[in-house]
């Protein structure tokens, strides 16, 4: 371990609490709350990080202190009454058992939530200005509202303390109520809570003072805040330094947890949860600037995905605790692996943002590449050895096949993996070709390295067929042959190119291109950027309301920004009806999905994306000979139970991932893990 990595493992003491190392996970709302309480799933998820060696884990991102900041729309935690305390105690015990510290984030979302959910109470804020992200227009808070919310914060702090937490932070970041008061873009008040920066800080001062009074002198209270709101009307970097310095000077906070940007609208949101389009640690400079000026420890998260960067941030004194939040979603065992000298075994977050994007559709946070995260009750992060070693053949080296091979090899089985291409990775290799999405290749790179290390017999450049598979005399065959691009069924489908082909073969299409996207996924958007970068005039037509509509909150804005920059024209609400050749050009016939009026485009190329169709020849050929006839027992799969037909003579056959039906990377990896963990 290098000297700077060592810096990660120096303990940190704040207000009598000693945290064993400098690795943490900042609060996030994974959508695991049930009935406003952090129950077993939520607790196990954090206990796993504690087991994995993290120093401090903060849960309950945006936990509500008041009823007019509802917890339900996020499946989050409500700290608005005492019924949550027993859950906290159980939670704290689970995490403390593994030596980590546990804290919670308390907040009032102000205008950054919706009124039409749990309690149907109006949203409130410093001033009645619309929030673009939640599209809500709040009521301006009266003095009574202010006093009530201050009291609610204090009560919540007391509950956190009684619940055995090691501390808490308030969220004054991401455009929550406290920073709604701070930000000149939201606070237009003329009373003592508006105007000068000092006045705008008054509400926060009152909140923190009340929390301290309620929670006592030996309870850690910190604050999450922005280091620069990064837009003209917002708080500047200097404002934020002043805010941090003022709060620490007054002794109101024991730490500040600094992030960059805010989250008032889609693009800002994408910036505050920087995905793979951003450099590593893009906002460390903001935390560093604040750390230069304050005397309390500084925490920071934002795309610190590798331990070398993390170690450097601590060793060079930019921060005191380095949060690797999504990094721990991708691998909760970072600390332990580092201590054991297994840095190469860390599954590094690629910054796909799948986790965060899901919660904005009301779903639960899941990692694109680690299917065990958030499923600790049924899925193992550390794969145990099987009682008996088997011979297993995996066909296809995409993410599904690689994960299957990895899990089987960890189980101690003898694994043979066939891959038709000369490189492992499947469609991810295509996806990664598209400009800023290169980091997706980190997924198969880690899997391939693990699989090699575990001694899987990899046959590259071999297209398997039934005979080749059976020659291995397998006990189990896993078919993960993935999908092939679907050119569509409209007349003229033979004249079009697919996005896969463009990206895969690097076809340089110049002139004008009509790109028809029936998926709303990354594929077409990436392809549009790819073509436009190379000088093509691209129009992206889609039946959806917007391009890349299926792509989540932190990714879609990046596609849109790029497409705007590159002059890609997006036309929504169109179906493709037919394609035909005219002279040496193509004519695409499109129909408006609203008024059914048809229109045409004369272009040089038509590129389409209808997703993929399963590649299932190997599966079909092997099906009849298999003891389970290729059937996967869905009930057992979902429950995380072993499949039937255990121990019968002959081979069992399963198919996973896009070979079953075109879906996505997580589906392929989850299919593999839940199936193979019991082999």
């Amino acid at each position: 371990m290098s000297a700077s990595t060592d810096a990660l493992f120096r303990p940190l003491t704040l207000r009598g609490l000693t945290i064993r190392n400098r690795l943490m996970s900042t609060s996030h709302a994974p959508g695991y709350g049930r009935d406003g309480k952090p129950q077993e799933r939520y607790q196990l998820y954090h206990a796993e990080k504690a087991k994995g060696g993290i120093g401090l884990t903060m849960f309950g991102g945006s936990s509500s202190v008041s009823l007019d900041s509802p917890a339900a729309p996020w499946n989050q935690v409500s700290v608005a009454d005492d019924s949550v305390i027993p859950y906290f105690q159980q939670f704290a015990d689970r995490v403390h058992a593994h030596g980590a510290a546990l804290m919670i984030q308390l907040t009032h979302m102000g205008r950054r939530t919706r009124w039409d959910t749990e309690h149907w109470l109006p949203t409130i804020s410093a001033s009645p200005l619309r929030e673009p992200a939640s599209r809500s227009i709040p009521r301006e808070m009266s003095q009574d509202d202010i006093d009530r919310v201050v009291h609610d914060f204090a009560e919540a702090a007391r509950r956190a303390r009684e619940g055995g937490m090691d501390g808490c932070e308030i969220s004054a970041a991401h455009g929550h109520l406290v920073d709604q008061f701070w930000s000149p873009s939201v606070n237009r008040r003329t009373d003592g809570y508006g105007g000068s920066l000092l006045n705008r800080m008054r509400f926060g001062f009152e909140v923190l003072a009340a929390m301290r009074a309620a929670a006592g002198d030996d309870f850690v209270i910190g604050m999450r805040m922005s280091g620069d709101e990064l837009f003209d009307e917002g708080l500047s970097g200097e404002d934020c330094v002043t805010i941090a310095a003022e709060h620490t000077r007054r002794g109101l906070v024991d730490f500040v947890n600094v992030m960059g940007g805010q989250a008032r609208d889609h693009m800002a949101h994408a910036v505050s949860l920087p995905n793979m389009a951003f450099p590593v640690a893009p906002f460390l400079y903001l935390a560093s600037a604040i750390r230069r000026e304050v005397e309390v420890p500084v925490f920071h998260a934002q795309r610190i995905t590798d331990f070398a960067t993390a170690a450097r941030a601590v060793a060079e004194g930019h921060v005191d605790m380095v949060a690797m939040t999504r990094a721990h979603i991708a691998d909760p065992y970072i600390g332990r692996k580092l201590l054991e000298g297994r840095a190469d075994d860390i599954r590094q977050c690629v910054g796909a943002g799948y986790c965060i994007d899901r919660i904005y559709t009301g779903a639960d946070a899941l990692c694109i590449q680690n299917a065990a995260t958030g499923r600790e009750a049924t899925m193992p992060h550390v794969i145990a050895k099987a009682a008996t070693a088997r011979r297993i053949v995996v066909v296809g080296g995409g993410p599904g096949g690689l994960e299957a091979a990895r899990v089987c090899a960890e189980r101690g089985h003898h694994v043979v993996l066939f891959e038709r291409e000369s490189a492992l990775g499947g469609q991810i290799n295509i996806a990664a070709k598209a400009g800023w999405r290169e980091a997706l290749s980190g997924i198969p790179r880690w899997l391939a390295a693990q699989v090699r290390k575990l001694g899987v017999d990899i046959r590259l450049g071999v297209a398997a067929d039934a005979a080749l598979v059976l020659a291995e005399r397998p006990d189990i065959v896993v078919v993960a042959t993935g999908g092939a691009a679907n050119p569509g069924l409209m007349p003229g489908a033979d004249l079009v190119t697919t996005t896969q082909a463009v990206l895969h073969q690097g076809i340089d299409l110049s002139g004008s291109v009509l790109l028809y996207d029936a998926m709303g996924q990354h594929n077409a958007a990436s392809c549009a950027e790819y073509l436009a970068t190379r000088g093509a005039l691209v129009e992206l037509a889609t039946p959806d309301r917007m391009a890349a509509e299926e792509v989540g909150t932190t990714n879609q804005p990046v596609h849109l920004r790029n497409m705007y920059k590159l002059g890609v024209i997006v036309t929504p609400n169109l179906d493709i009806v037919a394609v035909r050749r005219e002279a040496n050009r193509l004519v695409a016939v499109l129909r408006n999905t609203m008024d059914m009026v048809e229109e045409e485009r004369v272009v040089d190329h038509v590129v389409v994306d209808f997703g993929t169709l399963p590649v299932d020849a190997v599966f079909t050929d092997l099906k009849d000979g298999a003891v389970n006839r290729g059937q996967t027992d869905a009930a057992a799969l979902i429950a995380g139970q072993p499949q039937p037909h255990q121990g019968e003579a002959g081979y069992r056959l399963y198919r996973i991932g896009d070979a079953a039906a075109g879906r996505n990377i997580h589906a392929a990896i989850y299919d593999a893990l839940r199936l193979c963990k019991d082999f």
Binding site: M1, D6, F9, R10, P11, T18, I19, R20, N21, G99, A101, L339, E340, G341
Partner: protein, 609 residues
């Protein structure tokens, strides 16, 4: 006639021996003074020879038979002959028959001696004078036998043959193999570590007078005279060479050659050494006029040579004596030694880290830190390994075990300083004395019934070497503590697994302190599949981490830990159990696929119920 001549020969040979011993004595007198309990030593001599020496010799049964035959036969025959001065005996036929028998045994012995090197000489044995030795032995024994059995001229010819052999042997007393017989006997009587024979560990280094005119051994005459005597006792049996890890790794150290270098340094122009040299070294070096400094710095102070030596020679003491001179007088410790010793001098730990960092590994564990004036039952000595993240895991496991057993224990925290082991083995006696003095004074302000440590080096220093600085403690190794906790049912473990585990004995625990049973008992409780490496217990093979070897870092052909790991692999074990921070670091440093390395404390902690 022949009988008379034979008796005369015996007396003449005795006289010859006396003269030779006198010459040797002059050589030994060159050494520095040493106080020796001659009376006690001589009284204990037979027991030391017959019990202690033979216990070592008997580890190789063939050698033992050989030596019993040749030494027993020769000594018996010659001794009996000398008794012929008693007329009644001279006339007794049975007496002569007895002598004949003794000569016959000796003759068999002589054949066995020859057979050791013929047809192929094992690498660890010397050639040179050793090749002529069987001839002299044979001549003396055969001649004696002939003279006792055959009358007349043949008998006289036998006497002549015996005279040829006998004179050859006596001549070899100063320069050849026979020196060991004389020097060996005297060495056993005047041994510098008499405590070794009482079954005691006696592996502590003796403090140096730091005000002395010369510090350590800078010339051959700086060795105490009985050390010089001890070197001359070497029979070049090569057992130390076979035992030595540095030699095995191709580092420039051969303990056998080392002892012979000392002999040579004390006797200009003697018969040349004809055994294997220090690997990679062709010519004599500047140290004592014979040695290269790398030879001295290659030693891991593992004591394997000492434990293997039938002549009870103390290689390690000699190595350290010279290192003391090199370090204290010349600041010549190589590699990172100067930086490490400075770190120790100025920060109190070998990493040069802030003293408060010693407890970093235990952040959040809320350990009790013993303050001056306080009392506790068990004091946990953390050692410098506490600064190391890897070893921190071992310590955390140990603390978990001690907590599970509800022991009353505390640590010293920032007040603890390195015990000084590294400084002492690197020859920095001044640095060691400084650490010892501070630690003993600090420990004196607190009260506890015992010290527990997971570091065998600290254990050795605290237990055996601090008494000379006024610190007397009961020191327990963590494996012994765990053993005790299991047998007294203070902790309960889950069922034994079937993981194949082999245990690597740390030199400073096994050889230096004789503790090899407790860790094995614990291991047997953990797995049903404990296997032993070929070299285990007192004969264990060093991990390469002792004696400052990782700091001086003298290159060889291979690395010692790689060799040890290979030995572990040969057992088929999937896990090597260790019990020392040094061993953990060295064995885990072995790259490529290999068994896992886990401290016994970690294994027990995992198995706790």
């Amino acid at each position: 006639m022949a009988f008379g001549a034979l008796v005369l020969l015996a007396w003449l040979l005795l006289a010859g021996v006396a003269v030779q011993v006198g010459r040797l004595g002059l050589r030994w007198r060159r050494g520095a003074g040493a106080s020796v309990d001659w009376l006690g030593g001589l009284r204990a001599l037979p027991r030391r020879y017959l019990v202690d020496v033979h216990a070592v010799v008997a580890r190789k049964p063939a050698s033992s038979v050989m030596h019993q035959a040749i030494a027993g036969g020769l000594l018996a025959a010659t001794g009996l002959l000398l008794l012929a001065a008693i007329p009644a005996l001279f006339a007794a036929a049975l007496y002569w028959l007895l002598i004949a028998l003794a000569f016959a045994v000796a003759l068999v012995g002589a054949v066995l001696v020859r057979r050791r090197r013929v047809p192929v000489k094992p690498a660890s044995l010397s050639a040179g004078a050793f090749l002529t030795l069987p001839a002299y032995l044979g001549a003396y024994a055969a001649g004696g036998l002939i003279a006792t059995l055959l009358p007349g001229v043949p008998g006289l010819l036998g006497v002549a043959l015996a005279a040829f052999g006998g004179i050859g042997l006596v001549a070899q007393i100063t320069g050849g193999p026979m020196r060991h017989a004389v020097a060996g006997a005297l060495h056993l009587a005047a041994h510098p570590r008499p405590a070794r024979f009482a079954g005691g560990a006696a592996s502590d280094l003796v403090p140096l007078d730091l005000d002395a005119a010369r510090l350590g051994v800078g010339t051959i005459g700086d060795f105490a005279w009985n050390r010089l005597l001890g070197f001359d006792a070497c029979i070049q049996c090569g057992r130390c060479e076979e035992a030595c890890p540095a030699f095995a790794a191709g580092q420039p150290l051969n303990p056998k050659a080392l002892i012979q270098d000392f002999c040579a340094a004390n006797r200009k122009g003697g018969t040349a050494y004809a055994g294997s040299p220090h690997p990679g070294i062709a010519s004599p070096g500047p140290v004592l006029g014979v040695l290269h400094a790398e030879t001295l710095w290659s030693c891991t102070t593992c004591r394997a040579c000492v434990a293997a030596c039938p002549m009870m020679i103390e290689h390690v003491d000699a190595v350290i004596d010279i290192r003391r001179n090199l370090t204290l007088e010349h600041g010549a410790a190589p590699g990172k030694a100067d930086a490490v010793l400075a770190a120790l001098r100025y920060a109190g730990n070998t990493g040069g880290l802030a003293p408060a960092q010693r407890l970093d590994f235990a952040a959040g564990l809320k350990l009790r830190v013993l303050a001056p004036g306080e009392a506790v039952d068990t004091l946990l000595w953390l050692g410098d390994g506490a600064f190391d993240r890897r070893y921190g895991a071992t310590l955390r496991a140990l603390i978990g075990i001690m907590r599970a057993a509800k022991l009353d224990f505390a640590v010293l925290g920032p007040a603890e300083r390195d015990c000084g082991d590294l400084a002492r083995r690197l020859g920095d006696e001044a640095g060691f004395a400084a650490q010892a003095t501070v630690n003993v004074a600090m420990l004196g302000t607190m009260s506890f019934t015992r010290i527990v440590t997971a570091d065998p080096h600290a254990l050795h220093v605290l237990r055996q070497e601090y008494p000379a600085f006024g610190g007397h403690y009961t020191v327990v190794h963590h494996t012994a503590l765990i053993d005790e906790l299991i047998t007294t049912n203070r902790i309960t473990l889950g069922p034994a697994t079937d993981t194949v585990i082999t245990y690597h004995d740390p030199c400073y625990l096994g050889r230096y302190n004789g503790e090899t049973a407790a860790p094995r008992r614990v291991l047997a409780r953990l797995t049903g599949q404990a296997v032993e490496m070929a070299r285990a217990r007192e004969a264990s093979f060093c991990c390469g981490g002792g004696g400052g070897a990782p700091v001086t870092d003298i290159p060889g052909k291979q690395r010692i830990p790689d060799l040890r790991m290979e030995q572990a692999r040969e057992t088929g074990a999937s896990l090597v159990a260790v019990a020392c921070p040094g061993c953990t670091a060295m064995l885990e440093g072995v790259i490529g696929p290999r068994p896992l390395v886990r401290d016994i404390a970690e294994l027990v902690h995992e198995a706790l119920q």
